[in-house]
Symmetry: C4
Subunit: 387 residues, 4 copies
C-alpha cells in the first residue's frame, strides 16, 4: 500500500510525457518562493515570518543538517510500511497536518480545501481554533478523515467547554492544546505590515469558532466587527495557563490530549504527571520564542525521558522525507507538517495541498527505502550519525 506514496514520482514523470509539469515546485525553497510570488506581502509574511530576528526558524533547519542518515544496502525493502498507529488509530503515514489558523487569508477555500486533501490521503488534519471556517463545515469537508482539534485555550471555562463539546460532536478525536502561544509573539514582519489577520476583513467574523457560536455566547450588540473582535481577543491572548488547570481539559475530554510546544525535559515529565496522552516537541515553527533552541535539538532528550510514557510527536522544520526520518529516529512517533502545505494551499487550493503532501510522502517513502529501512517503526538513533 505504501508504494502508492512513492508512486507519485512515476505519476509526475508520466504526465511529463504528455507535456504536463507540476503546478509548482516540490522543493521547499522554491515552493516558498512561488508562494511569495503569488500572495500579497501581508498574508505571505504572516505565514512565512517568525518571531524576532528569525533565529529560531534558522536554528530549526540547521539542526537537521547536523544529523545524517547512514544508508544501508541490499535489504529487503521493496515494500515499505509507513503506517503508524497513534492513540489506537492506524494511519497510512507518520505525517499529520499541523494546526494553522486563518487559512482563508491565502486561499478562498481555506481549511475546507485542506480538510478534503487530508482526508484523501488518510492524513489527520489538526484544525486550529483560529480557523477561518467553522468546525462543523470543516468536519463535513473532511468526511471520514481523521481530524484532531487544536485548542487555543480560552480564559473562560464556559467557552472552553463549549469548544470541546462542539469538537467532539464534529468528530474531532484528539485534542491538541497549544501551550506556546498564550500570547502572540513579537513578529517584525507582521508588525511592519501592521497586519493581524484576526483584525482584518478576511475571516473576521469567525476567527475563533463558528459565527453562530460566538454570536450566541457573546451576544454582541450592534457594535462594529473590529470592536467585537477586540473584546474577544483577551479570551485567548495575553494570559498564561498553568499545569494545574489541565485537569479541566482532562476531565472534559475523553479522547487523547496532546500538549503542543514542549521543549524541556521537566515540562515533558509534568505532561506525563498530568495524565496527558501525548506531546508535540515544537517551537511553533520559530514563530513564538526568538533565539530558542531548535525543536530537533530538544527532541532526543525529551523523547528519551518520556517516550515510553506518552506519545511524542514533533514539528518545526519538517521540509523533506529525510527530515521525517530523522525526527522519528530521534524519538518522535510522527511529525506535523505546517508551512509547506499552506503554500500548497495558496498556490493551488486543495490540489496544491495534495501535491505538497503527496510529494512529502513520496519523498519519505523512497528515502526510507533507499536508506535501507522497511518501516518507520524500525528507525532509531543508530540510523543516524551526528556531525
Amino acid at each position: 500500500m505504501t508504494q502508492a506514496f512513492g508512486g507519485y514520482q512515476n505519476e509526475i514523470y508520466l504526465q511529463g510525457m504528455g507535456g504536463t509539469r507540476p503546478a509548482f515546485s516540490t522543493d521547499a525553497t522554491r515552493l516558498e518562493e512561488a508562494a511569495r510570488g503569488k500572495l500579497e506581502p501581508e498574508p505571505f509574511w504572516y505565514v512565512a515570518g517568525g518571531a524576532g530576528s528569525g533565529a529560531t526558524m534558522r536554528a530549526n533547519r540547521e539542526a537537521f543538517d547536523r544529523w545524517r542518515l547512514v544508508p544501508r544496502m541490499l535489504r529487503e525493502v521493496s515494500e515499505r510500511d509507513l503506517s503508524t498507529t497513534l492513540f489506537g488509530t492506524r494511519l497510512a503515514s507518520p505525517v499529520l497536518l499541523a494546526p494553522v489558523g486563518v487559512q482563508g487569508i491565502v486561499h478562498p477555500d481555506g481549511e475546507l480545501a485542506t480538510a478534503r486533501a487530508a482526508a484523501a490521503l488518510d492524513v489527520p488534519m489538526i484544525l486550529s481554533t483560529a480557523s477561518s471556517t467553522g468546525m462543523a463545515e470543516v468536519a463535513e469537508a473532511n468526511g471520514d478523515g481523521h481530524r484532531w482539534y487544536q485548542l487555543y485555550w480560552p480564559h473562560d471555562d464556559e467557552v472552553t467547554l463549549s469548544l470541546l463539546d462542539r469538537a467532539k460532536r464534529a468528530g474531532f478525536t484528539a485534542l491538541v492544546v497549544t501551550l506556546d502561544t498564550w500570547t502572540l509573539a513579537w513578529r517584525p514582519h507582521d508588525l511592519d505590515n501592521a497586519y493581524l489577520p484576526f483584525l482584518k476583513g478576511t475571516g473576521l467574523a469567525i476567527p475563533f469558532g463558528d459565527p453562530a457560536f460566538l454570536a450566541g455566547l457573546a451576544k454582541p450588540p450592534a457594535e462594529d466587527l473590529p470592536a467585537a473582535i477586540l473584546r474577544w481577543l483577551p479570551m485567548f491572548n495575553g494570559r498564561s495557563h498553568t499545569w494545574e488547570q489541565l485537569s479541566l481539559l482532562r476531565e472534559n475530554w475523553d479522547g487523547p490530549i496532546v500538549l503542543k510546544g514542549i521543549q524541556d525535559v521537566a515540562d515533558a515529565r509534568r505532561a506525563v504527571d498530568a495524565g496527558m496522552d501525548g506531546i508535540v516537541v515544537s517551537n511553533h515553527g520559530g514563530r513564538q520564542v526568538d533565539g530558542a533552541i531548535a525543536a530537533l535539538d530538544a527532541l532526543p532528550a525529551v523523547a528519551g525521558a518520556v517516550g515510553d510514557q506518552l506519545t511524542v510527536l514533533f514539528d518545526s522544520g519538517i521540509r523533506t522525507g529525510a527530515d521525517v526520518i530523522k525526527a522519528i529516529a530521534l524519538g518522535a512517533k510522527a511529525v506535523l507538517l505546517a508551512r509547506p502545505y499552506v503554500y500548497g494551499l495558496a498556490l493551488d487550493g486543495e490540489a496544491g495541498v495534495r501535491h505538497v503532501l503527496r510529494s512529502l510522502l513520496a519523498d519519505l517513502d523512497l528515502t526510507l527505502g533507499l536508506a535501507g529501512h522497511r518501516s518507520v517503526a524500525e528507525l532509531g538513533a543508530d540510523c543516524l550519525q551526528r556531525i
Copy 2:
C-alpha cells in the same frame, strides 16, 4: 505595569486597522537598511561601521546565536516584571541607552530627541562626552528622566573635574567611564570617507561639551574652528590612563562609577579593587579592537568572577528581546542599546527613538513571558543551552 511594554504590539496592530503602519521596520537588519537609505554615507558609516575588518562586530552577533533559550510552558507569567534596580534606583526595564556621540550628524534634534524619548519610557540615557548638544540642554530635555554621564576622560584633571562638576549639577547620577576608546581605532569606512564628525561643521562647536565651557576654558583666540578642535583633540585622544588614576574620579564623584569596556576577568577584579560600582562588559560594538572576543563570550567568566561585588552591565550586539534575556541570563544586570536607537533617531527623530525602544521592550516582555519567565531577576544560565 510591564504589560505596557508588550502592549505596543496591540497598539501597532490596532493602528493597522486604520491603515497606518510603523514608519520603519522593527527588525534590526531592515532598520539598518532603512537608515542607510536615508542618511548620507558619511554619517551612516560613522554609526554602522566598526574597527578594521569588522570581525568583532560579526563576532558579537554570532555569539548570541550559540546560546539558545529553552522555553518553559504553563507557568504563571501573565504579568511580567521587567523592573530592574540599578544603584538603588528602580527602573522600569533592564535597558539603558548607550552613550553615542555627535547624534546631531544623523538628525537635527540629536541628543535632545533621544533625551525626551528616554525620559518618556523611563529608560536611562547615558550622555556622551562627545555630545552634539551641551549637557545642560540635554538634561533639560530629559526632565525627570534618569541620566548618566559618560566620560571620555581628559588628560587635564582640571577639565575632568569641571566635566564631573557640571554633570552633577545637571542631574547626571552615575558616571560611566569609557576605557576602550582612549584613542580612536582604525575604522576603514570613516577613513575611506576621511570623515571624523568632530572635525566637520556639524557639531563642531561643541564636540566635547558646552560651547561656553570650552570657550571659558580654552580661551580660544580668533583662530579658525578646525584649528581650535585640533588643539583640543589630544585632551581626549591618543594617551591611555591607568588604574591608579581612577582615584581622581573616585574621590570626585559621589555617585556610582561604572567602567565601560571590560572584557577580561583580571580587569574586572581590578575594577572591584579600585572601588568601582559597576562595569560594562563591552567591546564598544566592535568599533575599537578588530579581531576581538565577542562581548557575550567574555560575559560569563567576568560576571562569574565579580558579579556579586559590583554591578555588571553589558553592551555590544543587543538587537532583540532574546538578546537582552541571554545577556542577563549570562550574568548581566542590565544592557545598553546603541546603534538601533541611533537609526531610529535618524529615521524619525524622537518618535523614531521611541519606536525602536518600545519595540525592543515589547519584544523583551513578550519573549520573556513566552520563554516561561516572570521577571528578569529569575534569569540564569539554566534558561539557556549552548550549541
Copy 3:
C-alpha cells in the same frame, strides 16, 4: 611518465602565447556554470541535481574542507608515480570515470566521446547500464582502453545473465554493481521539469542496452515506445535485491565484482563475506538519499575495517586533485569522477572530456608533488590534519 599529467599546465600556457585559451574553465564551479549556460534546463538539472533538498550534495563537498593537507618540503618528488594497480591491472592514475547514464542527453556523441577520451588517457571507463549507446559500440570506441561494466541489476535473472554475457564479450573486465539506486530517488529538479530521460525521445530506444538485445528479449509488439519503456522500467526500478542474491553474480562473472554505494561498516564487511572484490564508498553524488552522511565522512571507518580484504574505491564529491589525494589518504585505492566529465562532454564532446580529465590529472600530479609526495601509494592519514 606521470609528468605528462602535470605537463598539461605547460601546454595550456604555451597555447596562450598563440592567443588560444581553453574552451572552458578548469574550475569546478565555473565549469558547472558554463554547462548550465549551454544545456537546456532539463538535461542540465538531470546531471546537476541531487536528491531532496540537496543536503547530501552539499555535505559531500563540505566534508573535504574538514580535512587539510600538510605539505612537506625539500623531498625528492620531481618524478611522481600516479600509477595504481587495480585487480592486477596497472593504470596510469588512480582515477576512473564513474558510470553515468544517458550521456546522449548532453551531447550527441554521448558515451562514444567519453569512451574515446578515456582510452586516450588510460583512464578506465565504467559504462552505465543506462547508456544512450549500445555496449558493443562503446567498446569499439574505447578500443584497447580499460572498461568496466556497471550493472543496474534486473529482476529477471535471464536478463541479468544476458547483460553479463554481453559485457564479457565486449571486453568489460570488471563488474560494478550499483546498490543504491534500485529505485530512483525523489529529485525535485527533475520532478519540477517532469523530466526522466528514459521516457523521452533522446536515448529512448536503448536505455538499458542494445536495441537488438531488447528487441529479441522483449519481443515488443507494435506498441508505441513509451509504452514499451514503461513495461521495462520495473525490471530495473522499484524493487531491492539482497545480499543472498549476490551469489548469482559471483557465479556468473569471473572478473572482479565491485559493489557501488557502500557507506556503512557492517555493509562493507558483508561485501567481504559475499566474496566481492571491491566496493565504492559512495552516495551516488548525493542523488539518492537526501540528508545522508557525506561519502568522505564514511570512508575512513569503512576503509579501516575492510581495506585490507578488498579494494576500496571512492566517489561523490571529487572535484580537484586535492580531493583525490584526500580520499586516497583516507583509505581509497582510487576514485571515480562523475559530474565534471559530463559537463566537459556537454561543452565540447570528446575534447571536453579530455580537457576535464587532463586538468584533474595535472592538478593531482602537481598537488601531490607540491604536498611532498612521490606516489599515491605513500599517502596515508598522516598526510592530513582534521579541522
Copy 4:
C-alpha cells in the same frame, strides 16, 4: 617613534577637512575590489587567484577568525614600541614585504615603486627572483632600505651561485629560499586565461634576473624570446630540491638564510638541523597546495617546536593589524604582507604601496595599544582566546 604609525589616521582625517579622501580603500576587501576594477583580468587574477579550488586561501582567512584578542584596559600604552629585531637588525615594525614576482604586470614602476615605498617606511623588501626589474636597479631604488633576496632555486649551481653573488653585491642582507614553488601549482584562473606572465611581453626579457646576466650566462642565439624563456623555465620550474642540497646555500651565503614555505613541525626541525637562521610559516598565500592547512593553523606547533632555535616568520592571510598581532602572539617574530601591497601598487604606484603599508602599520599600532599592549615583544598566546 611608533606613534608615527598610528598618526596616519590623523593625517587622513585632516586631509578630509580639505576635501581630500584616500585614493582607495584601506579595507582589504574593498582594496581588492578596486584593484579588480582597474587591472585587466589576466594580471588581476594572477595576483588574486589561488591554487585549485581556492580552499587554502579561504582557510587562511578563516583561521584568523578562530583566534580572538582579549583587550586589556587602563594600561600604560600611550607609547607603543613596534620595533622588532631580526637577525641583529632593528626594524621599525614587525612587517616585511613578501617577495612577489613580475610586479611590472600591475604597474609600470613595478618593483622600483615598491622598493622606494619600503625604504621610506623602514620596511624590509624581499625581492623576488622573478622580479620584473633587475636586482641592481631595485637595490638602487631601495637606497639604504633593508632588502632581502628571495631565491627561486635554480637547478644549475653556477646560476645559483651567480645569483647569490649578485644579491650580496647589491646589498641584500638575508636570503629567503622559497621551498613551496619548485613547480608552479595548478591555478585555474591563470589557466582559464592561459596567462603566465613569464611568457608574455611584460617583463619578458628579465623574468629571472637582469638581462645582462642572463645574456652572459645563456648566450642566447638569435632565437625568439618565448623560445629563450621556454629553454630557461626548467632551470627554475619542475624539479624539487632536497634538504641535503641546502649546504650549497649555507656555504655560499654568509648572512641569514630563511626557508619560506614550512608548515610541518618535522620540516621545521630539519631547518634547524640544516643550520638555517629562520623559516617563514607560509603556504604561499594559498597559491600552491590546494586543500592545505591554513598557515595560521600550522604556526603554533611549529613555533612551539623551533621558535627558540631560529627566527619564525609568518605569511599567508595577513590583512589587518589584528592579524599581525595574532600571528605574533602565536609565535611569529614578524610577518610578511603580500597581495595588499600589490593592489596598492596597481592602484597608485609607489604612493599606493605607501598607503597600504601606512594603513596596516597604523592599524597595527592602534589595535596593539587598544588591546592593551605596549610592544609586540610582549605578545603571547595568553593575549588570545580560541573559539
